[in-house]
Symmetry: C2
Subunit: 367 residues, 2 copies
C-alpha cells in the first residue's frame, strides 16, 4: 500500500481554484491563493500547502471566519511605506498585493516596508520573499501566527512560530532563500513523533511545567515548543528574541493581534494575523552584477569548504527546496494517503469532488 | 585578592578619549569611540568594551592598519538609502554617522537603509539599534566579523559571529533590545571554559573534523563555533542561515569583505568589515502611542506569564543589560584584574598611563 500518491501540480492547482471559487472567492484571488499553496507543496513544505486547504481556509470561509472577497484597504501610505488592512480576507491575496507594492515602491525609493493587519494565514513566508528575486531585489517577509512557543523560563504558549524569510539573487548560483520558523521545529513535527511512538530530541519542547521533555505527548498536551536554540544553556533566548522581533514587526507595527491573541485556525474567531514585507533594490547600494557575483563567490566558498566527518555536502538555504521543486514538477506532488482522504472529505463537504488522476505513488518519505 | 576592580565610567571614558587622541584620532571622533566602548562595559557586554581598546583599535592604528582620521565618504545615496565607504577608519565613528543618517532619512521617508564597507570592528551592534529609540523609531544594525563559525555540515571557520541587533520603544516599559550573535556563544566564552579546565556543553562547537566536542581546546585549535541551534537535529542550519543573511546585508550589499575574507583584529591586513543600519519611523505605519502601548502589553503578557518549574522571572531582551547599566553607572564598571594589567601595559606602550582611581573591588562575577 502506498504511503503517498503523486498528482500533477497543475491538476492540484486547478482543483484548489475550483474549491476557492465554490466558496465565493473571485477567479483572480482563487488563482493567487492556489498558486501560493502549491508552491509550498512543490518546494517540499507540505505542511503549508494543499493539506491546509480546508482546515485553514475552506472551513473558516464556510463559518464566516474569513471573508472570501478579501476586501483589503490602504490605511496609511508614503512613497516607501504602506499599512494595509487585510479586511479579514485570505492571507495569500493580501500578501501578494503587499509584496507587489513593496517591490514597486522599492524600485523608486530603494527600500520599502509594507505591514498588514487583520489578515489570516498566508502560506509560506518564503514565497513573498522570493517575489523580489526576478526584480533583482532582496525580499523579506515575516508573519506572526497562533501561539505555540514558550518564552525562555516560561511554560505556556505565548509566541507563534513566527517565521523569517529572506531571499537574495545570485548570478549563476541559485538564490539564497532563508525560510525558517523561529521555533526549533513546527508543532506538526511533534505530532509526527507522537504518532510514530518515538521520543523527540531533548530541547524541542517542554511539558506543562516548562521542563524539557522527550515525550511528544507532553508537549502536545499543555506543553509548548521551544524557540530556536532550545534551552537557556544553548541560548534559546535568542530564538525567543527573534520570535518577539517578528511579532513586533508584524503584530505591533501593523496594529494586528500579537502574542497569545493571534487567532489559531481552529478557533472560532477572526485570526487578526499580522504580516511584514520588505523589498530592497540592490542597485540603490551597488552595481547589481557586483552584488550577484559576490554572492556567487560566497556560495562557492561555502559549498566547496571542507566537510564535517561523514558529511558530503554543505547546503545553501533554499537549495534543497529548489531541488524538490524540480523533482515534484517533473514527477508529481506526493500527497500522503491520509491527506488525500482529507481532501476527498472536504471536497464532498464543499461540493467540489477531489477526483484527480494520480500519476504515480511512492512508499512515502519525510521531506 | 580581588578578581575585578571598579572604576567610574566617566574616568574610563576620559581615559579612552586621551588614548585615542594620542593615536591621532580627533577629539569628536575619540569621544564618539569612547562613548560606544564604555556603553558595552556599562551594559555588561565587557567583551566589546575597554578590553579591546588596544587589541582591536590602538595596536592597529599603531601598525597603520586602521586610519585614525576615519575618512569616510559617501558612495551612493538616495532619500532612503546610503552606501558609505568607511575609509578603513574606526567602526564606531562611521557607524555612528551611518545610524544618525539612517534616522534622519527615515524621518522623511519612513524607512531608511545604510550600508558601510571598508570599516573595522564597531563595538556592540545594540548601541546603533538603540540610537533610534529617542526618535521613536525602530533601529536595526548588523555587522560581519572575522570568520569563526562553521556552516552546517562543514568544519572550518567561514562565517563570523555576525550579530543582529533590533531595538523598539515601549511606553512605560523598557524598550525591547535584541543584540545577539548568530553563533551560540562567542569564541571568548570557549576560552573561559578552557582556562577554567571545564568542558563545554555539547553543541557549542566542533573540533577540526567538524565533530561536536565538549573539549574547549579542540574548538580553539583548528575547530569552529557552531551557529545558533547547534547541530543539525536542533536546526543549527537556521543560525547558519541568519549568519549568512547578516553577511549578505553587511558584506555583499555594501561591497565589503564577506565570509572568510573579513579581517581578524589580529591579522596584519585591513579588515574591510561591512555594517548595515536601518531606521523605521513607527508613525509612518500607525500612531506612535498605539504602537508603544501595544508593545507594553506584549511585554506585560510575557513577564506575567506562568514560569517554568524553578524559574522566577521571564526576561525581555535588553532588560538584564539595562539593570547592569544602572548598577555599573552607580557602583562603577568592574574590570578584571588581568584586564587592568593589559590596560596598564597598553598605556605604557602608547604613552597614556592608565592610572585611574579605583572606586572599589569585587570578587568578580560572570556577567
Amino acid at each position: 500500500m502506498p504511503q503517498a500518491i503523486l498528482y500533477r501540480a497543475q491538476d492540484l492547482t486547478d482543483y484548489m481554484v475550483r474549491f476557492f471559487r465554490k466558496l465565493g472567492v473571485s477567479q483572480p484571488h482563487a488563482e493567487r491563493a492556489a498558486e501560493i499553496l502549491i508552491s509550498a507543496d512543490l518546494r517540499g513544505v507540505s505542511s503549508h500547502g494543499i493539506i491546509r486547504l480546508h482546515s485553514y481556509y475552506g472551513s473558516r470561509i464556510l463559518k464566516g471566519l474569513i471573508d472570501p472577497t478579501s476586501p483589503f484597504t490602504t490605511v496609511r501610505e508614503s512613497p516607501s511605506t504602506l499599512l494595509i488592512d487585510g479586511g479579514n480576507g485570505l492571507g495569500m491575496v493580501v500578501g501578494y498585493h503587499a509584496m507587489t507594492t513593496a517591490i514597486e515602491k522599492a524600485r523608486h525609493s530603494g527600500v520599502a516596508f509594507v505591514t498588514v493587519r487583520n489578515s489570516n494565514h498566508y502560506g509560506i513566508a518564503g514565497y513573498y520573499a522570493m517575489m523580489a528575486l526576478p526584480h533583482d531585489m532582496i525580499g523579506i517577509s515575516f508573519t506572526n501566527a497562533q501561539p505555540l512557543v514558550a518564552p525562555t523560563y516560561g511554560r505556556t504558549r505565548i509566541i507563534g512560530t513566527n517565521p523569517i524569510a529572506v531571499a537574495a539573487p545570485a548570478l549563476h548560483e541559485r538564490p539564497y532563500v532563508l525560510d525558517m520558523a523561529t521555533s526549533i521545529v513546527p508543532i506538526g513535527k511533534i505530532t509526527v513523533y507522537d504518532k510514530a511512538g518515538e521520543t523527540i530530541p531533548e530541547g524541542w519542547g517542554v511539558d506543562k511545567n516548562g521542563v524539557v521533555t522527550t515525550t511528544p505527548a507532553e508537549v502536545l498536551k499543555g506543553g509548548a515548543l521551544l524557540p530556536l536554540g532550545g534551552s537557556d544553556i544553548m541560548r534559546g533566548y535568542k530564538g525567543y528574541g527573534l520570535g518577539l522581533m517578528v511579532d513586533i514587526f508584524t503584530g505591533v507595527l501593523s496594529g494586528a493581534a500579537f502574542g497569545p491573541e493571534v487567532g489559531a485556525p481552529g478557533r472560532d474567531a477572526p485570526a487578526n494575523v499580522g504580516h511584514f514585507f520588505a523589498a530592497v533594490d540592490i542597485s540603490a547600494f551597488r552595481d547589481l552584477e557586483g552584488f550577484k557575483s559576490d554572492l556567487d563567490s560566497l556560495i562557492h566558498t561555502l559549498k566547496e569548504a571542507p566537510k564535517a566527518l561523514g558529511q558530503e555536502r554543505i547546503y545553501i538555504h533554499g537549495e534543497k527546496e529548489f531541488e524538490l521543486y524540480e523533482r515534484n514538477t517533473r514527477e508529481g506532488v506526493p500527497l500522503l494517503v491520509e491527506v488525500v482522504k482529507g481532501l476527498r472529505e472536504a471536497g464532498e463537504q464543499v461540493g467540489v469532488a477531489f477526483d484527480l488522476e494520480a500519476v504515480g505513488e511512492t512508499s512515502g518519505e519525510e521531506e
